[in-house]
């Protein structure tokens, strides 16, 4: 191209010529520069607006032009940024059509106008060259726009942060392609800039500077030189304001003046870096800072912290790395491995986005600001996350998860993290994916992990949020929002394509599957668990978006962790290890690739140190701690039992005393049981002696033995003819005295005739057949032939019946009915009751005779009435005895634990979990309870005969005693176990006896 211009060669002319030369290269075109018009734009001024009708193109001579388009939401989307020597708006030159983008000067800019008249003129005069020009223009659409030299300003807004700003600028220069300028070292530049000269940056734009091949220049501001700051801030494509957190979020006067002098449109990106003390635990109130300033993104840095300085520098230089961690439940923890693999190769994460399980890792990385401790924190967060509940709202109550998250996040805002963070959830109310880059962190994470149906959904500002993975399984979009303009690395946990499962049975019977799993000898069938199935279904929708999202990423770390169930949070550490192993080759390939990311100097330094630290570990073999955790658990269990057993043996004497005491108490407990049993069965046994299943008594009497109601014998005749004989009974309390003085006892005198079984069940002797003869229950202690006094009458014991007592051992005395009448009713023909087997055919006549029938059971239970309270009392004593047994066992086990405090502390110091130790303590108690209960069974046999009341013990009572003792003993060990859990390992260090 030949460019003709007027006779006078001016700076302006030269610049224009250069620009045209670069914009329209090699066309053989001759351009008359003097015939072209130029236009100067102020920062923020529009060259054309989107949707305008246009017919001109422009070539930028100086300055910077931003192409913008409406983003459909009232804001604007920034397209390309164009600098000197670029042709812009060229398509309108050909078709005079609608502008597809607006063009706006982002700083003072000079353009040459190429209008349609000029084009027509060229076509007429230089058709050959014009053709080539058109070709150039048409091809422009296919090629990438040239990257203009990027101008970055770093402006400290307080003297206290000047050092940090300089450190950031230096770090940015170390990224290899930027030049740091200090106004003091470049007085001419300083003068030109502050004088408002349009061309002061030309040397960079035109490539006249040594930094010619570099795509960027870093300009460092000065806290007290406002004119310089204004100049560089206006000129910068990206400006980083550095503020001091100690100054508070209010905009200072100097800062306000500066901001007022630089139009918002002047910069394509504005960043705010907040400087914190180097021992700050966390950033705070970032929201307040952002509300008062129009900035695109914020960054936090601690003083004298190279990792932070490096991160801010990479953000400023547009080389910050974003990590997007995908959804995958526990598999997301694989990203921890990826992050470690990156860190070990000098690659730091400068912005991080996460979704679902990935949000936990992302949040920890952002909060910690470093890889150190990330694994431990992630394990802590993920282990035991699930607390299953009745599935009304969700399968998992969420209490644990929420407590963990709340404990970790507190009132922290997403903005208040060292590394910029985005957490993705799905807004179910609006059916959109939401990337939380601000707002309460705990809410965002909890929402992000709430897998539909498994975790409860979360409300945020009245909208229901669920797991972000429903829409976005990999949060690339969230990552982009953080504004880091460098590489995007994605950790993708979606299962590999292709068949992932063996053929599944069509019918999955839960019992059958469980049995196959639990019973040894069966091989468990691999079927997906229902939670996995729900989880997987929820992410189906995101699968399509995943493909689109992956298109624009620079490094796709696709981890295959499908061997771990998504919700198997117990295996976090294994997931991390495998994730790391799989990440390493991918990260190394990424580092070796053409667009290698910027390394972090502080990490690289750490690498060097570690390499120098390579040393040979002593090669002593380590004991095999079983990798199979179940087998390890069993081994620990057996170990703890063996420890408990040897301790029992050591303290055998003390435990023996405890066992002896406990066994006596348990024997008493068993005897009580026997007595209560006896009292409960006594009436039934006594009533059964009479034979017959029905007792006929006067209406109004509830029973026979507790009532004194009688009726005349004459009514019996009116009852019709029963099928069997009607037994007649007269009952009264009476006194019986033996031969010796003072042997009086209360008895129940029973006169009887015609009993269904003829007579009471005799054990010995014969039925009393006349006055002066009686039959008595064995419990009264008489023998056949004994002379006794029955009230006023002398009598002889003619027979003994087995076990016939009432009211806790009051014996019955059987005499003929007539004899009884003589003694108690003056020979009146009265009866207390009739005993029959069947009342069916006399039922009607009973009513007319004012009688009613009671079953034998009813009579027996009525006889129990008077002793119900004593029975209840004995039951209470039983409970108290059990408590005493528990106290004895509890005390002795507790004392043993006190004695063993040092042993326990030592074991705790050596890293033994409290679980096995506590279990051993409980086992000791249970063994004591067991042995004591066995001894109690024998002691009871020895004690029973001494009891005045019969003791009735069945096998089931013995079994119950043994099991109750063991249960009580286990409960009794609670105190000792608590003590064990509180054992302070530090006490192991105390001197002897201490």
């Amino acid at each position: 191209m030949t460019i003709r211009n007027g006779d006078t060669e001016t700076d302006e002319g030269t610049a224009t010529r250069d620009a045209l030369d670069r914009a329209l290269p090699g066309n053989g075109l001759t351009i008359d520069v003097s015939a072209l018009t130029t236009r100067t734009l102020d920062a923020g001024e529009l060259l054309c607006d989107e949707g305008d009708q246009g017919a001109t193109a422009w070539v930028i001579v100086r300055g910077r032009v931003q192409a913008v388009a409406d983003d459909g939401a009232g804001g604007e989307r920034r397209l390309g940024l164009h600098g000197p020597g670029e042709l812009i708006g060229e398509s309108a030159l050909l078709d005079q059509g609608i502008r597809r983008a607006g063009l706006r000067a982002v700083r003072r800019t000079l353009v040459v106008v190429l209008d349609r008249a000029w084009l027509l003129d060229v076509m007429a005069t230089q058709p050959q060259a014009a053709m080539a020009l058109l070709t150039t223009i048409l091809r422009r659409g296919d090629t990438q726009p040239s990257q203009p030299t990027e101008v970055i300003a770093i402006v400290p807004l307080a003297t206290t942060v000047a050092g940090e700003a300089r450190a950031v600028a230096t770090a940015a220069s170390a990224l290899g392609r930027h030049v740091v300028l200090d106004p003091d070292q470049h007085p001419s530049l300083h003068r030109a800039a502050t004088n408002g000269e349009l061309d002061w940056l030309d040397e960079f734009d035109r490539g006249g500077h040594p930094a010619q091949s570099e795509p960027g220049v870093v300009l460092l501001g000065h806290p007290t030189r406002r004119d310089w700051n204004v100049a560089i801030a206006r000129a910068a494509d990206r400006v980083l304001f550095v503020v001091d957190s100690a100054d508070g979020p209010e905009v200072g006067t100097e800062e306000r003046r500066l901001l007022d002098s630089v139009p918002r449109a002047a910069n394509s990106v504005r960043l705010l870096a907040i400087v914190h003390p180097n021992d700050a635990d966390r950033p705070r109130s970032t929201r307040e800072w952002l509300l008062r300033r129009g900035v695109d993104h914020h960054l936090h840095l601690r003083r004298q912290t190279p990792a932070d300085t490096g991160r801010v520098a990479r953000h400023a230089a547009g080389r910050a790395l974003t990590l997007a961690i995908g959804a995958g439940g526990v598999r997301s923890a694989g990203a921890v491995g990826t992050i470690e693999a990156m860190a070990e190769r000098g690659l730091a994460v400068d912005a991080v986005a996460g979704v679902s399980g990935g949000s936990i890792v992302a949040a920890w990385l952002a909060v910690l600001g470093t890889t150190d401790g990330l694994d431990a924190k992630t394990i802590w967060s993920m282990r035991k996350l699930l607390d299953y509940t009745i599935p009304v709202g969700a399968v998992v109550a969420g209490g644990r998860a929420w407590r963990r998250i709340e404990e970790a996040c507190g009132d922290r805002d997403v903005l208040d993290t060292w590394i910029p963070l985005s957490v993705t959830s799905t807004d179910l109310t609006a059916a959109v994916s939401i990337n939380h880059t601000a707002g309460p962190l705990a809410d965002a994470i909890y929402a992000s992990i709430s897998i539909p149906g498994i975790f409860p959904p979360v409300d945020i500002d009245g909208h229901v949020h669920i797991d972000g993975a429903v829409f976005d399984a990999i949060p690339v979009e969230g990552g982009r929002l953080l504004g880091a303009q460098g590489p995007m690395v994605v950790v993708d946990l979606s299962p590999p394509s292709g068949k992932t499962t063996a053929p599944l049975p069509r019918v999955m019977s839960g019992q059958r599957l469980l049995m196959r799993r639990l019973v040894p000898g069966f091989t468990a069938e691999r079927v997906p668990n229902p939670l996995d199935t729900i989880m997987r279904s929820t992410t189906v929708a995101s699968a399509r978006r995943r493909v689109a999202a992956l298109e624009a990423v620079d490094c796709h770390v696709h981890l295959n962790l499908s061997e771990f169930s998504v919700l198997d949070f117990g295996k976090v550490d294994q997931v991390m290890a495998l994730g790391k192993a799989q990440s390493i080759p991918i990260i190394e390939q990424f580092l070796a690739g053409p667009d290698a990311p910027a390394l972090d100097p502080s990490l690289v330094e750490a690498l060097d140190t570690r390499a120098g630290d390579a040393r040979v570990r002593h090669s002593e073999e380590h004991p095999s701690i079983d990798s199979n955790s179940e087998r390890a658990g069993v081994a620990a269990l057996i170990g703890s039992l063996s420890l408990a057993w040897s301790d029992l043996r050591l303290r055998a004497r003390r435990f023996a005393v405890a066992i002896a005491a406990t066994s006596v108490v348990l024997a008493l407990l068993l005897l009580m049981t026997g007595v209560v049993n006896q009292l409960n069965r006594e009436p039934a046994v006594a009533v059964a002696t009479f034979g017959g299943s029905q007792w006929i008594v006067p209406v109004g009497a509830d029973g026979v033995f507790t009532s004194s109601a009688t009726f005349p014998e004459s009514v019996v005749a009116g009852l019709g003819t029963p099928s069997e004989p009607i037994g007649k009974v007269l009952v009264a309390r009476y006194r019986l005295a033996g031969a010796t003085e003072g042997s009086d006892l209360d008895v129940i005198l029973v006169g009887h005739a015609d009993l269904p079984n003829g007579a009471p069940n005799l054990q010995a002797g014969a039925v009393a057949s006349g006055p002066g003869q009686l039959v008595v229950s064995q419990d009264a202690g008489f023998d056949v032939g004994d002379r006794v006094r029955l009230g006023p009458v002398d009598a002889t014991v003619t027979g003994i019946v087995a076990e016939t007592t009432l009211f806790a051992g009051m014996p019955m005395v059987f005499v003929p009915l007539d004899a009884a009448r003589q003694l108690v009713v003056d020979d009146e023909p009265l009866l207390s009751a009739l005993v029959v087997d069947d009342v069916a055919n006399i039922a009607v006549s009973l009513q007319t005779a004012s009688l009613r029938a009671l079953s034998a059971e009813a009579v027996a239970s009525d006889a129990l009435g008077p002793i119900e309270r004593p029975i209840a009392t004995m039951r209470l004593v039983q409970v108290l005895l059990a408590v005493v047994a528990a106290l004895i066992i509890g005390a002795v086990v507790f004392l043993a634990t006190l004695d063993r405090a040092r042993d326990i502390a030592v074991l705790r110091a050596m890293g033994v979990n409290s679980g096995p130790i506590s279990l051993g303590v409980a086992a000791q108690a249970i063994v004591i309870g067991f042995i004591a209960s066995l001894i109690a069974l024998i002691v009871q046999l020895a004690l029973a005969p001494a009891f005045p009341l019969r003791v009735f013990i069945e096998t089931v009572d013995r079994v119950v005693l043994v099991s109750v003792s063991m249960l009580v003993a286990a409960a009794a060990s609670y105190g000792a176990i608590r003590r064990t859990l509180q054992a302070d390992p530090a006490t192991a260090f105390c001197g002897p006896g201490g």
Partner: protein, 317 residues
């Protein structure tokens, strides 16, 4: 690079309402395979430091990096794992479990952390051989001498295969002969590549350490020795006061007096030229137990405990 790096370690707790800082800004390093001695009088924080190293006590501030891991930043669960895998302990009071045989004492911590009984006992047997106690494997601690118990304890400390062994006053309860066995044993363990950190105020251990961490209270005016002129009757220091200086009598004589509670004084000793006085209090971090008063016009050299030790060592050499 050392395998144990301690930086700016601070431990603080409250005792009867008074804040106590057994460790205040301690920094130290112990190299891989070294036998390091923690020196200092009682109460100087030796045990506290060992507890921190062992992951039993969490320091108030500072960091402890063992094999590249800052254990001060670990959570409870990771600390437990650290104790299990990375450190072994040997205690002053041996702390063997009385109910278990020597073999089981070594094996039990392994078993309780999930090693099968057979392999734990196998390893325990092997370790007891190393400490020359294979023939006493089935004896209970009560049937072993103190030295033997401590050897069992060392075997137990090594059982987990941890690279770091922490021993707290391992020879304090032992007589000379038994202590020597233990010292030789610890030296041998360090030689096999373990890092061994031994807290002690046992002078006998000094020569075998590769390095020493001195926890003696930091004394002011550490470096400068100065001459003090005293007239007859002038008091150098009073009973019950605390001081950090040791005094060497250059010329003259100093009476050492003990004051009784009834106010009377009695001269317990007199130090002449070339003799030193007031060394016990500063070295043990305790108040002066007597008053020192010039018996005649005297000159004394006031020096720090460190210099005094130096001087003492030089004289002995």
């Amino acid at each position: 690079m050392p395998s144990v790096v301690i930086q700016d370690l601070v431990v603080e707790y409250t005792s009867n309402g008074y804040p106590i800082r057994p460790l205040d800004g301690l920094s130290a390093r112990v190299g891989d395979g070294e036998l390091a001695l923690l020196l200092g009088p009682s109460g100087s924080g030796k045990t506290t430091l060992l507890s921190c190293l062992g992951g039993i006590l969490r320091p108030t501030a500072g960091s402890i990096t063992i094999d590249g891991v800052d254990i001060a930043a670990l959570d409870r669960r990771s600390l437990l794992a650290h104790r299990r895998r990375s450190v072994g302990f040997v205690f002053q009071a041996f702390n063997l479990i009385p109910s278990l045989s020597a073999l089981d004492n070594v094996a039990m911590p392994l078993r309780l952390t999930g090693t099968s009984a057979r392999s734990a006992r196998e390893r325990a047997g092997h370790l007891l051989e190393q400490v020359a106690l294979a023939d006493r494997a089935e004896h209970r601690p009560g049937q072993l001498s103190g030295g033997q118990q401590q050897r069992v304890a060392i075997a137990r400390g090594l059982a987990s295969g941890a690279p770091l062994l922490l021993a707290d006053e391992p020879t304090a309860n032992l007589d000379y002969i038994q202590a020597e066995e233990i010292i030789v044993l610890l030296r041998g363990i360090a030689a096999t590549g373990h890092t061994v950190i031994v807290s002690t105020h046992d002078e006998r251990l000094l020569p075998i350490g590769d390095s020493a961490i001195d926890l003696a209270p930091v004394l002011t005016a550490e470096s400068t020795d100065e001459m003090i002129q005293l007239d007859a009757g002038e008091v150098l220091f009073r009973q019950g006061s605390t001081g950090v200086r040791v005094y060497l009598v250059e010329n003259g004589a100093i009476d050492i007096l003990r004051e009784s509670s009834d106010g009377s004084e009695s001269v317990v000793a007199c130090r002449g030229a070339g003799e030193y006085l007031g060394e016990l209090g500063p070295m043990m971090g305790k108040p002066r137990s007597a008053t020192a008063r010039a018996a005649s016009k005297s000159t004394v050299r006031s020096m720090s405990v460190h210099d005094f030790r130096q001087l003492d060592a030089d004289q002995r050499a």
